[in-house]
């Protein structure tokens, strides 16, 4: 009898324990499929996934792919419909408008509004607006980047040149330092047709130009302001750029900068480990970072959200999927990923915390801090992004080659307007 009592007590205790844990882990036993990109953010989060699984009882099946491959795979699975994807990484600027139009994103508005602890308002405004399409919150902003100026501290010092704060100063300094006879060049940036468009954007914005008027959907590729930005960018590359610049993407630009052959380089802040990490770069000690130089309209650089984390609209496990996202992008994890793993995230509280910026080089962090809140896009935000980039890049290529870029701009503007007419809501 005594034994039986003991057994009963044990059962009671056990069942209460079990019921408590069941309350704690409402998603216990669920499995979610998470499709990520090959990215330093993924490398930072992946080792912590077992922690999340232990915490929630959710089993995470994750996989990761190269940027374009990820897009190809997701698009195929989504078009086929009823895909087994729950959470996926996405590029709001590149495919956001398109995927939103296809209804592939689950609107996160309800989840973020209901979750006070998560504090969605903590994300910078530009990052939140970047992932919101037609009122739908398509993704949680993951990593951001801004266009900044990289320069050779030693070269500037030797020649008694101050760090340029305006584009005109940059032009003058590049001219002074340019010495092609000795294979040293004043300036480098992307010269490849399509890739250059994003880095051209800050030049155009700083002259007061833009791709198109977002209210009236009028193309503005041949306005005096936009043309002035294009002229500055292409003249820098044409007059002071290294040979073969038309074939340069960021990897080639980094290469020639690391070969100590260039004084100035404008590109994304996210590329900094390639230049400032002593195990990867020979110029780590002598490379400086500065805020993008100002034009007549001020220093208007892009401050974009390169990647976001989304829930697939047809996911069968939306609650468990949100549990994963709120864990991965919550305050605690964000502080870890930015503070320890040096990833550039979008949470204001993390940027304000000294722990959050301890891994960043000081001048880089200052350059980035000075850019936050600028334009949230670095390319036209339309569904036909690829075609538009080709069109715009073509104007710059013509200018660098010394062709009639004014005519090219007029022609591109007409074609771009046709695209916009199709996109008009």
């Amino acid at each position: 009898m005594k034994r039986l009592n003991l057994l009963l007590v044990l059962i009671l205790i056990l069942s209460s324990v079990l019921s408590v844990s069941a309350q704690d882990k409402p998603f216990d036993g669920q499995t979610i499929r998470v499709v990520l990109a090959n990215h330093a953010w993924t490398d930072a989060v992946a080792p912590k996934i077992p922690e999340f699984e232990a915490l929630t009882g959710i089993k995470v099946e994750w996989e990761s792919y190269g940027e374009e491959q990820l897009n190809q795979k997701l698009t195929t699975e989504f078009i086929a419909g009823n895909a087994g994807v729950d959470v996926f990484m996405t590029r709001p600027l590149q495919e956001g408008a398109n995927m939103e139009m296809n209804g592939w994103y689950y609107d996160l508005a309800e989840k973020t509004a209901a979750d006070v602890e998560y504090d969605f308002e903590d994300f910078t405004e530009s990052s939140r607006s970047a992932t919101t399409f037609n009122g739908t919150i398509t993704a949680i902003p993951l990593v951001t980047e801004q266009e900044i100026l990289y320069y050779r501290k030693d070269i500037l010092e030797e020649n008694g040149i101050e760090v340029p704060t305006t584009l005109d100063e940059l032009y003058a300094a590049a001219e002074k330092l340019n010495d092609p006879a000795n294979e040293f060049y004043g300036f480098v940036a992307r010269g490849q047709r399509s890739p250059l468009v994003t880095q051209l954007s800050s030049f155009i914005y700083s002259y007061g130009g833009d791709w198109f008027d977002r209210d009236t959907y009028t193309a503005t590729l041949n306005t005096p302001e936009t043309l002035a930005g294009i002229e500055m960018y292409s003249n820098l590359l044409k007059n002071f750029g290294p040979p073969g610049v038309l074939n340069m993407h960021w990897a080639q630009c980094i290469g020639i900068f690391n070969e100590k052959k260039v004084a100035f380089y404008t590109d994304a802040s996210s590329l900094y480990p390639n230049l400032l990490d002593p195990t990867k770069s020979d110029v780590a000690e002598v490379t400086g970072c500065a805020v993008f130089p100002a034009g007549p309209a001020g220093a208007v650089m892009y401050d974009i959200t390169a990647w976001g984390l989304s829930i697939y609209a047809e996911s069968q496990n939306k609650d468990a999927a949100w549990e994963f996202i709120r864990w991965a992008t919550g305050k605690e994890n964000s502080l870890f990923i930015q503070g320890e793993k040096a990833q550039q995230l979008a949470r204001t509280s993390v940027w304000n915390d000294p722990e959050g910026i301890k891994s960043f080089p000081a001048d880089w962090a200052a350059a980035v801090a000075g850019s936050i809140g600028a334009k949230s896009y670095d390319r036209p935000l339309i569904t036909a992004v690829t075609e538009a980039r080709d069109l715009i890049g073509g104007i710059v290529v013509t200018a660098i080659e010394g062709g009639d870029y004014l005519k090219a701009a007029d022609e591109a503007n007409v074609k771009f307007q046709e695209m916009l007419n199709n996109e008009k809501p």
Partner: protein, 280 residues
């Protein structure tokens, strides 16, 4: 007079043979240098890779290979690729050889055109239907689905390579066998196939290589379990950073099996070619 002529011929021949070797050497340099550069870079540290002029002996390391095999576990991806490539080639031959023999013997031109259309239509057209089909059959991320998809490119190729080969074999051989009482199957297996080894070897190498390099079907139809090497190599390319050393090491590693296969089977191909030459 005669002696002078002979010596002239000799000089001429010597000049030709020198030119011949120079031409071979130039060709070798053109074709081999990117390959050798890849192998060399796979032993360099990231910082030394970007330096010019090249310091040939500085910054050599095995780290890149450690990344390939330990961090990324490329053994698994290679295993997957071998299974899929061998599987699709084996079944491609199993179906393709009898098919092309039949086409060759009975002049089934329409049939062979039909098979060819699956090569003419771009592979991406099949991607979505295949994906939907395999998903409904719960076969995504299985070897079977990959092998079947890769056969789509391998099989027509085998048929089109082997049909002319079988056509070139003298019909009389088969007829003689039939007179001696052999069945068509027996004739095919015991007479035709052994004579066709060089063709079969060529078809095998090429079909294997097609499958080995196939990216499109592998990216969509495979996920973690059956990921093949062309997809896995992208693990070294990440947003805003490319691990060139690791990439070169991985590229070297995945080129190796094909290279070994080619070297091993090469003598069969050459034997086949010379056999044909002697016959005249």
């Amino acid at each position: 007079m005669a002696a002078k002529k002979t010596s002239m011929y000799r000089t001429q021949r010597r000049i030709f043979s020198v030119l011949y070797f120079v031409a071979i050497f130039i060709l070798l340099v053109i074709f081999l240098s990117p390959f050798l550069w890849m192998v060399y870079c796979s032993f360099k540290t990231p910082i030394e890779l970007s330096k010019l002029p090249v310091n040939w002996l500085k910054g050599l390391t095995m780290d890149n290979y450690q990344k390939v095999f330990v961090q990324q576990n490329f053994f698994k991806f290679i295993k997957n690729s071998v299974i899929v490539a061998a599987g699709s080639t084996f079944f491609g031959l199993l179906i393709g050889l009898p098919a092309s023999y039949s086409i060759a013997r009975h002049g089934q031109k329409k049939l062979s055109m039909l098979i060819l259309t699956s090569r003419i239509v771009p592979g991406i057209t099949f991607l979505l239907p295949l994906y939907i089909m395999f998903r409904e059959l719960k076969m995504v991320d299985t070897y079977t689905s990959l092998i079947l998809a890769h056969m789509l490119t391998g099989l027509p190729f085998i048929v089109w390579l082997m049909t002319p080969f079988f056509e070139s074999l003298p019909k009389e051989l088969g007829e003689a066998a039939v007179v001696d009482g052999a069945s068509s199957l027996r004739t095919f297996v015991s007479i035709v196939l052994p004579l066709s080894v060089p063709g079969i070897v060529t078809a095998t190498i090429l079909s294997f290589t097609f499958s080995w390099n196939n990216f499109m079907f592998s990216i969509v139809l495979a996920t973690n379990r059956t990921r093949t090497v062309p997809v896995a190599i992208y693990n070294f390319i990440s947003y805003a950073s490319i691990d060139w050393g690791g990439l070169m090491a991985a590229a070297t590693v995945i080129t190796l099996p094909i290279l070994v296969l080619a070297v091993i089977t090469q003598r069969y191909v050459i034997r086949g070619m010379t056999a044909g030459a002697v016959k005249g």
